[in-house]
Amino acid sequence: MIELIDVKKAFNHHRPNEHWAVNGVSLTLEGNRLTVFQGPSGSGKTTLLTLIGCLARPTSGRVRLDGKDVSGFPERFLTEIRRGTFGFVFQQYHLLRGISVLENVMLPGYPAAPRYGTLRRRALELLERFELAHKAHAKVEWLSGGESQRVAIARALINDPAVVIADEPTAHLDTALAKGFLTIAEELRAQGKTLMISSHDPLVCEAPIVDRLVRLRDGRLAESA
C-alpha cells in the first residue's frame, strides 16, 4: 500500500520562477490495483509518479510504502527500493541505442548481481511473453513503436517489481497497440502487480480494467473516481 500525505513538489523553489508541480496531494493507493492518474498536460501526473516511484523527493509531505516513510530514506535505500519494488515504463521508453533488445531488458537486473545465465533466461522469458523473442538480438533502434514499448515493459519487469509505473504509455501508440498495452496491463494485475499509469488518453482512462481514476489539475486532486 502506498500512502501520500500532503505531498508537495516545487521546482525552482524560492526563486522567481518557482513552480509547484504537486501541491498538497493526500492519497492512499491499494496494492494489486490499476490506478490511472488523469489530467491535462502540466497537471502534475508525471511528477507525482516520480515521487511515488522514489525517483524524486517531495519538497514537503510524506510518501509511505507499506508503512515505511520512503520520502525520508537516505539515497542508498531509495536505490534498493527503486530497483526491487518499482518497474518504470517511461513515456519516451528510454531504451539504450546501440545495444540489443535482450541487453536492454537485462540491464536493470545487473546491479542485483544474479547469475548471468539466470538473468538472461529471465529476460528471454519476458521477451517470449511479449512476443519479441525473435527480436532478442536486434538493435533497439530497428524496432517499431509498439515493439519498443513492449521491450520497455519487459525491462520494467526484469526485477519482478511489485509496482509497475507507466508514464503516458499509449501516447505514441495507435488504437490497436494501445489496446494491446491494456491487455498486458490486465495480465500484470492478474499476476498480483500494482499498476500506476498516468494518461489523458480516453482509451486508457475509460477502460473497464481501471480500478481507480485519480484526476489531477494544477498539482492538486480534482476528484478521485
Binding site: P58, G61, K68, D69, S71, G72, P74
Partner: protein, 332 residues
C-alpha cells in the same frame, strides 16, 4: 614553518576545522528542529542536507585522524633542527603549545574515530537512528577542533630554532618534576603485571563481546580505554628501557626513531586502532535495540571486536618480543 609537512598539517587542520565548525552549526540547528514525524519542508531539507554534511564531516574527521600520524612523525623528524632536541619531545617542548597540541590531537583522534563509527552505522539505517546522537557529539567535537587549530598555529608559528630545548631525558626520568617522572619511577614488575592483566582482560572482553554479538560493548569500551592508559604507562615504565637497553631511558617518543627500527609505530598503530574499535563498539551499543540497525551493529561489533582482539594480542606479542630479546635485565 615552510616545511611541506607543516604546511600540510596546517592546511589539513584549517580545512577540517572549518568543515567541522560549519557542520556543528548545522548540527545545532538540526538538534533544535529535527522531528521525523513531521513532513514539513524544513524537516525534509534537514534530511537531505544531513547526508551531505555527514559525508563532508566524515572526510574531515578521517583526515584529522590520519594527520595525527603525520604530526608525530613530523615532530620526530624536526628534532634535528633544534638544539637539545633528541626526538619529538624536544620539538614539542620548543614552546608551550607543542604538547597541548598533541594532547588535543589525540583526544580529537578518538572522538573523530568514534564519530566515524557512529556515522557508519547511522548511514545504514533507513530511519536516521543515530543522527541526533552523532550531531550532539559533533557539537562537543567542534570546539576541540578549533582549539587544536589554535594550538597548532601558535605552535608552528612559534617555532624558534634559536631556542635551546630540553630533551626527553629531562621529561621522562624518575627525577623530573612532572607526572611523567612518577610513571618512569613505577616498579617494572608492577607495570608488567598491570600490563599483562589488562591485556588479558581486554582481549578476553573482545572475544567475549564477539561471541555475544556486541552485547558487552560497554565493557569492551571501558576496558579498552583502561588498556590504552595502562599500555602507555607500561611503555614509559618498562618497554622503553627494554628497547633502548638503558634502565633510565623511558622516552615513549624515541621508539619512533629509525635507530630503534620504528618499533614505536609497531606498538602505537595497533594500540590506537584497537582502542578506537573498542570505543566505537561501546558508542553504538546503546542503539543496538533500534530495529533498522540492530543487525548492522551486531555484525559491526563482531568485526570490530575480532579486530580489537587481534590488534591487542599483537601489542602484547610485540612487547613480549621486546622484553624477551632485550639485553637489559630489569627484573632480578
Amino acid at each position: 614553518m615552510l616545511r611541506p609537512a607543516i604546511l600540510a598539517l596546517l592546511f589539513a587542520s584549517t580545512l577540517t576545522s572549518v568543515i567541522i565548525a560549519a557542520a556543528a552549526l548545522f548540527g545545532a540547528h538540526l538538534l533544535r528542529r529535527w522531528d521525523l514525524r513531521s513532513g514539513g519542508e524544513g524537516q525534509l531539507r534537514l534530511e537531505r542536507r544531513t547526508y551531505l554534511v555527514s559525508t563532508a564531516v566524515g572526510l574531515a574527521l578521517a583526515v584529522q585522524a590520519v594527520s595525527l600520524l603525520l604530526f608525530v612523525y613530523n615532530a620526530d623528524r624536526m628534532a634535528e633542527l633544534f638544539v637539545g632536541a633528541m626526538c619529538a619531545v624536544g620539538t614539542l617542548n620548543v614552546n608551550a603549545y607543542g604538547f597541548p597540541a598533541l594532547q588535543v590531537r589525540i583526544a580529537l583522534f578518538f572522538l573523530a574515530a568514534v564519530w566515524l563509527v557512529m556515522n557508519h552505522v547511522d548511514s545504514r539505517g533507513y530511519d536516521y537512528p543515530l543522527t541526533r546522537a552523532k550531531y550532539a557529539l559533533l557539537l562537543g567535537l567542534a570546539p576541540l577542533a578549533l582549539l587544536q587549530l589554535y594550538l597548532e598555529w601558535r605552535y608552528f608559528l612559534g617555532l624558534n630554532p634559536d631556542v635551546i630545548t630540553s630533551c626527553c631525558g629531562s621529561l621522562f626520568s624518575a627525577e623530573a618534576e612532572a607526572v611523567t617522572a612518577d610513571l618512569a619511577a613505577i616498579e617494572p614488575r608492577l607495570a608488567m603485571g598491570l600490563f599483562a592483566l589488562s591485556g588479558v582482560a581486554v582481549i578476553a572482553a573482545a572475544l567475549f563481546n564477539r561471541r555475544a554479538d556486541g552485547r558487552h560493548g560497554l565493557l569492551l569500551g571501558g576496558l579498552g580505554a583502561i588498556w590504552f592508559v595502562v599500555t602507555l604507562v607500561a611503555v614509559i615504565a618498562f618497554v622503553s628501557p627494554y628497547v633502548y637497553e638503558h634502565p633510565h631511558h623511558h622516552c615513549p617518543f624515541c621508539l619512533l626513531k629509525p635507530e630503534y627500527g620504528y618499533v614505536g609505530y609497531l606498538l602505537y598503530l595497533p594500540l590506537f586502532s584497537a582502542t578506537v574499535m573498542a570505543l566505537g563498539v561501546a558508542a553504538v551499543r546503546p542503539f543496538a535495540a533500534v530495529p533498522s540497525v540492530s543487525g548492522v551493529i551486531a555484525r559491526l561489533s563482531r568485526r570490530l571486536s575480532t579486530a580489537a582482539a587481534v590488534l591487542n594480542a599483537g601489542v602484547v606479542l610485540i612487547v613480549g618480543i621486546i622484553v624477551a630479546t632485550s639485553n637489559l635485565m630489569l627484573l632480578e
